[in-house]
Amino acid sequence: MDIFDSMKISSSALKAQRVRLNTISSNIANVETTRTPGGGPYRKKEVVFKSTGKIFEKHLDENLKGAVQGVEVSEIRNSQEPPKMIYDPSHPDANSEGLVAMPGINLFEEMADMMTASRAYDANVTAIKAAKRMALKALEIGR
């Protein structure tokens, strides 16, 4: 057993949550983007998490194998929500009826997601601090 395993598990989550925060930033930044390299308005990006045991399997105790898992980003996919049509005839991307296709991004949803991601990140930092403190305490035995 490795005293750093627990930190590795938490750091896998830090990485995953950071990817999620970056994705949310991208969604918020592109809330009114109507042009993309692929054509059409920006599509909301969604992060999908998956638990993984690969990174730590070989270090773990026999009875913890398969039970203790870290996390990784499985995919970042485009939202299936249709673009929001807004009436704005003066917009350069307006169609013949004066409607503009805007990304269907709900800012409140993004802000709530951002707070959840940030809280999850904090929780993992606390877990790393606890593991570090425990390891340091073990080094103090016999002082």
Partner: protein
Amino acid sequence: MPIPGLFDRTIGLLEKTLDLRMQNQQAISANIANVDTPGYRAVHLEFEEGLKHALAAADSGIAPEAGAAGGDFSRVQARVVRVADPSGIGDRNGVNLDEEMIDLAENQMLYEAATQMISKKLGLLRYVIQEGK
């Protein structure tokens, strides 16, 4: 700790406690890491009962020597229990973050308590070796 009589079985028990608490730390870290993973079932380790049984067995055992009793504790294994989401709504994630944070703090404190006890035991031994100086 092969010298019989020098270390009593408390050291063996504390040693195993540190080991199991570190494993528990890993399980709690994994739960916190997977707080947003759909369908994840929380992992809980149960070992208090196992240690209690081992201690009771050592107390009533025929072999009171330190070596034999210490061997008992080293065989104690944590039992892995997986908890699915009881609510059945949302992303079916079984992690309760508040509970995990409390478990984390509790586990850390009990680990530190065990390290303190080992330190004190060794301190007593050192006191005797140095003839109370």
